[in-house]
Symmetry: C2
Subunit: 186 residues, 2 copies
């Protein structure tokens, strides 16, 4: 018996998304997701705490942001360092446009999933603020920058999943950042 | 039998806060809160859906923000209109400094309450964006401004409850707004 499959996580996410679209999030069980992916429930729970988590997979998103912030030049301002993080996340997601559109539609249809998304983005904002503090950014600037940067990201992401063509998510992030500069300066 | 008492809501909130401090949020029941306030469970549930909601009372906070946005001069920019909303909320809370400190300490100690707080603030940001759209602000600027304004508010509010003297919450909101202008412009 194969006990570890490197792509189990993404197979489970795909299976979950298919089932949530076909029959709704509320009506889908973990057993069904595991069966659709050809895996056991035990394997599901090795990767995800529950059937909401399967759409917020693996910490990859947060890790890419933190890596981008950490790798920004020392001379970068707090918002520039945060933007380097968003840019890294944009690069990670860029070839998953169709998946992102389907996923966002499923999330929008479920209050449970919308709540989980809000909590996830808040946690990423907190982690981003932590990465800024590591760079020497003081509070309260670090927390404010973390939250504002995640608002910029969400703004860009929503436009990205609203458009039919994949376009350039990183370009949309830059546009949202310009919106922020305009609104803050007016 | 008195079926309606105009101050039932604030008595329940006070009783809940006392009990959450004395014995913890998790260990407190709705029956205990109602008894401490000298009211029935039925009255509790007429005002609040559950024992988390009792600390996020009444919609007053959101209403004050929306009223501030709606009442801002026609010439106000989106962020100026949003700031008028935050200012109105600051005026509402200003004489409740001690309650706010105690409440924030209880929220910080409970993951359930922290989650509810994040969701409440997200809902207020959404309502604020709606009030901006009513003023003619287009998307995605309205949503971005709503979220950023609530980050500014939270930033000011956290500093307010961290300080021993009541100080001036509205002054802290102006300082946070200046932080935002600085970070966005750098």
């Amino acid at each position: 018996m194969v006990r570890w499959r490197p792509n189990a996580q993404s197979r489970l996410a795909q299976a979950a998304l298919d089932l949530y679209e076909e029959q709704g999030f509320e009506n889908t069980t973990v057993a069904e997701i595991a069966a659709r992916a050809g895996l056991t429930e035990r394997t599901f729970f090795r990767h995800f705490a529950d059937k909401r988590e399967v759409l917020f997979a693996g910490g990859e998103f947060q890790e890419s942001i933190i890596a981008g912030v950490t790798g920004a030049p020392e001379s970068a301002s707090p918002i520039e360092a945060a933007t380097a993080g968003l840019d890294a996340a944009g690069a990670l997601l860029e070839d998953r446009h169709e998946f992102a559109i389907r996923r966002q539609r499923v999330i929008a249809a479920s209050p449970d999933l919308r709540e989980r998304e809000v909590m996830k983005l808040a946690a990423v904002a907190t982690a981003l603020a932590g990465a800024l503090r590591t760079r020497g950014v003081a509070e309260p600037a670090a927390t404010l920058t973390g939250e504002v940067a995640m608002s910029v990201f969400r703004n860009a992401f929503e436009r990205w999943v609203d458009q039919a063509s994949a376009g350039d998510l990183r370009e949309l992030i830059r546009e949202s950042l310009n919106e922020l500069r305009t609104l803050a300066g007016s």
